[in-house]
Structure formats: structure tokens, C-alpha cells
Symmetry: C2
Amino acid sequence: MAVGPIALDAMGGDFAPREMVKGAIMAASDFGIEVILVGQESKIESQLDELGWSGRDRISICHAPQVVEMSDAPSVVIRGKRQSSIRIASHLVRSGEAAGVVSAGNTGAAMAAARSEFRLAKGVQRAAIAQALPNRKGGTVVLDIGANVDCKMQHLVQFGVMGSVYASIVLKKPKPKVGLLSIGSEDTKGNDFTRRVLSAMREQPDIDFVGNIEGRDVFKGDVDVAVCDGFVGNIVLKITEGVAETVMGILRDALSSSIRGRAGAALARPAFAKLRKRMDSAEYGGAILLGVNGVCIICHGASGAKAVSNAIKRASDFATSRIVEQIAEKMDADSDKEKR
Amino acid sequence: MAVGPIALDAMGGDFAPREMVKGAIMAASDFGIEVILVGQESKIESQLDELGWSGRDRISICHAPQVVEMSDAPSVVIRGKRQSSIRIASHLVRSGEAAGVVSAGNTGAAMAAARSEFRLAKGVQRAAIAQALPNRKGGTVVLDIGANVDCKMQHLVQFGVMGSVYASIVLKKPKPKVGLLSIGSEDTKGNDFTRRVLSAMREQPDIDFVGNIEGRDVFKGDVDVAVCDGFVGNIVLKITEGVAETVMGILRDALSSSIRGRAGAALARPAFAKLRKRMDSAEYGGAILLGVNGVCIICHGASGAKAVSNAIKRASDFATSRIVEQIAEKMDADSDKEKR
């Protein structure tokens, strides 16, 4: 079921526009998804020509003269670069011309564009970025991973509710287990802030709240949603990437240091490929901004074509499954309840 | 050069007293270190008998009737169980009968015992737990990993100074690079708290401060000390353990699922052993409490004999290298400077 095209910020990301255009072609040819490439038309045109993409029926271009740099402050999309690719791409969603937006560019700018164009869903105090991290059983949704570095208690409670709705869809679990990321499972564990959040989350009847969880629990797969503020969440995300790279690096070094190791590595190649696929952010990657009235997928800055193509697929899937609407309905109902 | 015996809390840890007694025997026989086993004499005696340890010249027992449980509040060693193994073991250091204490028991209780028996070093506002995490080049010292969940700005600045002295000794680097754990390298990145800490750390002339670092940088090996509060640090530690276990678990599953994979795994066994050794907390493990006037090594609750034996070795090495005295001198000099 086609939900409409996905708007791709063709100018955002360390390898833009090349990998963005390649990713769009992959999404169009592999998944049959319509993609609108938003950015500087001449640059996009020449990339498309270079890549020999002739069947342009599923790919279109929407010109945007300005480019947001990684060093730009998020507010640039509101005040300075209103004609930037990310702002115009987000606007296409608002106007109904696209079903979702994908960007590997400046995360703060993508969020600001989404908040400004889509607006926060009714009752939502802060939008949050959610990302599923791999574990042996599947995945755990962690949020917020960077949208809000300083949070109030109620923000985290809302992240729990939004994360629960999101996990119920992406992990296909009717009643996801939600945990508060802390430093021990007992109620007394945590800092002043998380202890107050814990009490507030216990009062939230709409989620299956399991209480405090530890860092290790994120990877055990016993909990589906891990709630934290954006400072802690971003550190968790980057530690995870760092450890996974380190483990694989140490193993590579150890294997290549002997003939026996190299022979073992050759035989084990399919297993390593499976591991890489599980740990690769290009596979599980693409974070979603929850709490706004539109689908906004934020990719890793270093995303290559495959990651971009997967993110486009996710944006399309999320539009189909009406994640944004489901979260908005839930948050609206909650805010109505509070008023009564 | 013998610095005196190490007092081991024989009753603390998931596998106490058995693994503690075994670890003491290993340390005595492999490293020639004198160990005082502190705990319930009859239980320790029967373990020693069971393990057939006859050459008791390097192992002695100091009876302590009480045991601190994992569920006990840290203050129990001050108010309730003053005759507990951890309290008495710490006292042996204070009285000069032992050169350091090692415990795999209740971390809060071990800290409380150390603070109460050793006292904070002059000028130190808070003691912090430091632990080296493995990276491809060697290790990065992370502190605080759990002693202080709510910190003030000045606490983190002091952690930077203490961590620098510690890293200069354990990593053998004359001028260790110190970073503040945040969510991006630019000065604007972080939360309200870390941005204030950043300014204060820049004013600290005694450390080679590189500014903000990201989670990934901890594992790149470009920085020797990563400073954070105990809430964030504890999450970092447990995420690291969780990811390492997950990666190895996924790889094990993938390898064992085919004949080819099993053959590869057999050949790659030495490489896997090397990886496990690098990642194993028993090898790099044993955290140290910095900022008190005595050597206190805190082991993972699940420590086995090897981890305990390594921790005893570290305690003895730390006593030899006068880490505690070097930190105390540095902090004392700093506090004098501030007064002028």
C-alpha cells in the first residue's frame, strides 16, 4: 500500500549528496518507494546522471537553494536558512506532498525543522528521538537519545508513553515492558532526578512499567523500552557503538596475527557477516523523532546508501502503520484525562 | 619489594567465601603476596582445608563475626555491623597491619568503611571510584563509576585531577589526557551541568584537559581519563559490559549454527581467548576508590578466584607505587593554592 513519497534531505550527511542519491535509487528500485530528493537541483541532477539512473519515474527533485552545515546552530532553519533542504523537505510532509522526511544531516536542525513544520502533537511537552538497539532477542527502544539534554520529570514520563506506543508497533508487542534507565533495579537506586521520575512513572497506568533497569538490561532483551534523558541516552548510544567497534577490532587484530587465526576467520566469515549485520547501525539504524505530527527519520551522519535506503523504507513503513497518529491519539487522550 | 599484606574481605561477593579464599591462595602462590583473610574464621578455615592449602605461611585469618549483605544500606558498617569483615579489613589498613583492602561485596559498604577508617584525603570533597575500560590501544580510566550519583561542579574537577594522577601511574603516561564525558566535542555540547564543569576544568592548570569527549572516544584510546558523575559512569560501565557480552553472544550463536562456523570457531579459539582476556573484567577489573587515605580495591560482585587474585595483586602494586600518597599530595597542594 503506497502512502506517498518520502522526502529525502539530499544535502545532509557526511557523504551527501552522493550517498543520499544512491540511497534514494536503492529505495526506489529495491522497495519501489517514491522518493523526492530535496536539495540543490544541479548537484542532484549530476549525481543521478553519474549513477546512470534513467528510470526516473519513482524519483523526483525538489529544489532547495540552501544547505545546513553540521556546524550550524539548530535555529538556523527557523531564522537564517528557511530555504534549506531539510526545511523544505519537512514542509513537503506538512503540505501533504510527502509521507515522511529522512535526513542524515545536522540532527538539531532536522529536529527544529520538524518541530517548526509539523508542530508538537497535542499534549506533548517535548519531542524525543527513539532508536532501537540490538540485543540477542531482538531490540530495545531507547529514548531520548539526544533531543533533550536537560529534562523535567514529566518529560521522561511522556517518553515512556510514546516509547511504549512506538515499541508496540516496531517490536510487534502488544504491551511492551518499559524500564527507567538507572544504576540498579531497586527503587532506592538512581540519582535525585531519576528517583522522582520513578515515582511518577509508577503512577502512569497506560504503560507496563517494570521500574529501574541497569545498563546491562538494555541488551538482555527483558525490557522493550528504556527511558532516559537525552544526555544519558546519547552517551549510551555512542558507548554502544564504541564497544561494538572495539570488540570487533580487537577480534580482527587477534585473528589476523596468525595463520591459524586467518584460516579460522575465513571459515567464520558468514558468522562475522551475520554479527556485523546485527550490530550495524545501517541495519537497525535510523532513529525516529517521536511526539511531532509527521514522520521524521534521523540517520547517522556517516550513513552510506544502504543506511539511507533502509531509513527511507522505515519512513514509508511508519507512515503506513500510522505511528505518528497513534502516538498523537494516545498523548491527546492522556492530556484530556489530566484535565478532568 | 613487599609492602605488607593485603586484607581481603573474605565474606563479600556472590561466591564468597569460596572464591575469595581461592583467590587469596592464587595471589599467595602465584604472586607471593601475603594475604589476610578477614571474615568468619570457621568458614574460612574449612575452605582452606577443603582446598588443601597447607603452606599457610603467606595466608593468615583475622576473625570478623559479622557479614554485610548486598541488600544492607552502606551506613550499616558505621552504625550496625561494626564487626563486619569489610569494616575490620579496612581497619587493618588504618592500623598499618595491611597495605590495602580488597572487597567484592556491597560496594556502598566498602566505600563507607574506607571513608570512615581511612578518611578523605586533605582537600578532597568526594572520593570517586575509577576503573580502566579496555580499548584497542590499552585502557581509558573512567571516573566516577558509581560512588556519587549527584555531583557538584567542583567534584568533577577534582575527579579530573585524581584521575590524572592515577592514570599517570597505571597507564605509565607522564601527562595523561583528560576529557569530560559529554555528547559532542564542541564546547556548546552537553547539558547545563557539564557545560559549567567544562569551563571550570579549563581553568585547572594541572591537567592536560582536552575538553568534551563523546562516548566513542572512551574506546578510541585518544584520551586517558574520562570524567563523569557516578550516575553516568555506572551506566557507561554496565552498557560496556552488556554490549561486549551481546556481541560475543551473537557471534557464538552465529558460529555454532553451522559446521563451517564451528570449524572456524575451533581454529579461531586462541583469538577468541585473547579477546575475552582483553574484555574480561577479571583481567582489567578491580576498581579503585580514589581520594581516601588508603588503598581500597572494589571488585565486581560476581568475581571469581582469578579476578580476586588479580585485585590483590593490584592492591599490592598500588601500595608499592604510593598512588594514595601521590593523590593526597596533589590534592593537598591544590587546596593550599586555593587558599592563597
